[in-house]
Symmetry: C2
Subunit: 287 residues, 2 copies
C-alpha cells in the first residue's frame, strides 16, 4: 500500500498491527493509533507544532534520572494517573481509598523499628504517626510491610536534595506488630510544588496552573493475599486540598492532626514530649 | 474539587485549563486530555501496564541524542508523521508531493558546488542526480537551497556511523543555478531498517512488523516566497515500496533509475563514466 493521506492512513496503520505478538499488544497498539490519529485530526498541528510536541516529549524523557521521573509527573498533572488508579480500584468496598504513587517512591527504603524517629529535619514540627492495618473484616494483619515517605518542612523530598539517594530522610519501612499496628515519629510535612524546573513545569505555566500539592504522607502497604495499597493521608485545612495539581485528594484520606501530650498515648505508645499526632486505620482489599 | 473518579476526572482536568496563556494552548491541552483519557478508558491499563508505558516513553526520550531522534521514529512508525504531513499539504495542486522528514536531517550541511561527488562510500554504485526547481507555473527558481541526504550502500546514514557528525557523507547542500537546475554525483542508496536497537525497535517486534524503508533520497528545498518542500525520491522496484515502515511512499515520488553513458547528458552535464541516473523536476507551492 502507498499514497497515504488523512483519509486512509489510520486504517493502513491498523492493518499493520495484525501480527502483534499477543491480542493485548494488538488491542493496546490499535487503541493508541486510533486515539493518537484522532487527536492529530482534531488539533491539526502545524509541522512546527508537531516538532514542538516531539521536543517536549524528548525533554521529558531526558529530565528523568534515578531520582526524578518527569513522565510520571506528566501523567499525574494530566489526571491520567488518577484515572488509571480509579479504573484499577473500582470496588474498594470498605478498603482504604487509593491515590497516586507519585514520582518519589524509593524501592527498598531502610527498615526501622516501630517508634523510631525517621526525619533528619531539625526545623520540622514533631509528628507522631500511629496506624493499624487490617483486612476488610477488621482482622488485624501482623507482618504487613508499611512504606512511608513525605516531604520535609520546606516541601522537599530527600531524593530532591543534592545528596539524593545517599541520605534518605522522612522515609522508612515498618512491619506491623502482632496486632497489625505500627507507629513512628517524624515531622509535619509541608505543602509543596511538584518539581517545576522541567518540561512539566513549563506545561503548567502555559496552562496557567499552579504546581502545588497539599501536605500529605505517602503510604504503600502490602501483605500476603492482599492488594497492595498505595495512598496518602492529607492534612486537614491545607490551602491546596481543592486544587491539588495531580487531582489526588479524597475526603476519606484527609486527617485532622490531633494534639498529643507527653506520656502514654491511647494506643499505648510512650511519647517523651508533646506532639501533633496523625492516626489512621488502614483496611486492605483481598488480592 | 476532590474525590475524582473515572466519571468526573476528565471534566475536572479540563476545568483546570481555563487560564491557559493562549486559546491555542488551551485547545491543544484540552484535546490532549480528552483523547488521552479516552485511550485509558478504552484500554483500562493495569497499574503495571501504565508503568510500562511510562518506562517506554522515558526510554524513548533517553535514546535521543544529537544524531538519534527516537520520538520522531515513534511518530513515523505510528503513521503520525505522515498524517501531520498530509494535514499540512492538503492542496498541493501541481506542487511536488511531500513525505516525512525522518530523523536524519542535519542542519547546515556542507554546501557543495554543482557536479560534486558527495559520497565517501567506495563500495556504492555510481549515481548521477539531475534536478530542477520551479514555481507552480513552471518558472525556474534560481538560488533555491537544495538539501539532499541518503543512506550509503549498506543502508546507514553518515550520522549513524561511529564518528557521527564529524564525517558527513551522502549528504550536501546545493544552490540552483540561474536556470533553477542542480546536479551532483553520489552512490545508489540501499533499503534499510530504521534504527531498531531502541524502544521503537522493541515496539515493532511486539507488533510483528519489519523495520524496513525502501531505498530513497531525501530532499528539502527552500526558496523565498515558497513553501519549503520536504520529500524523498524512491527507487522503483524496491521490495519495500508497499510496506514502508513509516508509510511514506507515494507513486508520484517513485523514480526509475536511467542508464547514462559517459559524455554530456541531455541536461548538459559532463559525466566521465557510465552511471545510473536519477532525474526529477520539483515544483514548489507558494508560501
Amino acid at each position: 500500500m502507498r499514497n497515504f493521506d488523512e483519509n486512509n492512513i489510520t486504517r493502513a496503520v491498523l492493518e499493520r498491527l495484525q501480527n502483534s505478538v499477543s491480542p493485548r499488544t494488538r488491542q493496546i497498539s490499535e487503541a493508541v493509533v486510533r486515539h493518537l490519529h484522532a487527536l492529530i485530526q482534531e488539533i491539526e498541528p502545524s509541522q512546527q507544532e508537531w516538532l514542538a510536541a516531539i521536543e517536549f516529549l524528548t525533554a521529558t524523557g531526558q529530565m528523568c534520572s534515578d531520582t526524578r521521573q518527569e513522565f510520571i509527573l506528566l501523567s499525574d498533572t494530566l489526571g491520567a494517573s488518577m484515572l488509571v488508579d480509579a479504573i484499577n480500584h473500582r470496588h474498594p468496598g470498605e478498603a482504604t481509598q487509593t491515590t497516586v504513587l507519585g514520582p518519589f517512591y524509593v524501592e527498598n527504603a531502610k527498615q526501622h523499628a516501630l517508634g523510631d524517629m525517621i526525619s533528619h529535619d531539625a526545623d520540622g514540627a514533631p509528628l507522631l504517626v500511629e496506624g493499624s492495618v487490617a483486612a476488610l473484616d477488621g482482622t488485624p494483619i501482623a507482618g504487613a510491610v508499611v512504606d512511608v515517605w513525605h516531604s520535609d518542612s520546606d516541601g522537599y523530598y530527600d531524593v530532591q536534595r543534592q545528596d539524593g539517594l545517599q541520605h534518605l530522610s522522612d522515609r522508612a519501612r515498618f512491619v506491623t506488630d502482632s496486632d497489625g499496628r505500627f507507629w513512628f515519629r517524624s515531622i509535619v510535612p509541608a505543602f509543596y510544588p511538584i518539581p517545576n524546573d522541567g518540561p512539566v513545569g513549563k506545561m503548567l505555566d502555559a496552562q496557567g496552573r499552579h504546581p502545588y500539592r497539599p501536605a500529605h504522607v505517602h503510604f504503600m502497604i502490602s501483605a500476603p493475599g492482599c492488594d497492595t495499597l498505595v495512598t496518602h493521608l492529607f492534612l486537614a485545612d491545607d490551602p491546596y486540598l481543592d486544587s491539588d495539581v495531580v487531582f489526588g485528594v479524597k475526603d476519606a484520606l484527609i486527617c485532622k492532626l490531633e494534639a498529643q501530650a507527653a506520656g502514654i498515648t491511647a494506643r499505648g505508645n510512650a511519647i517523651a514530649a508533646a506532639t501533633a499526632a496523625l492516626r489512621y486505620d488502614f483496611r486492605l482489599a483481598p488480592a
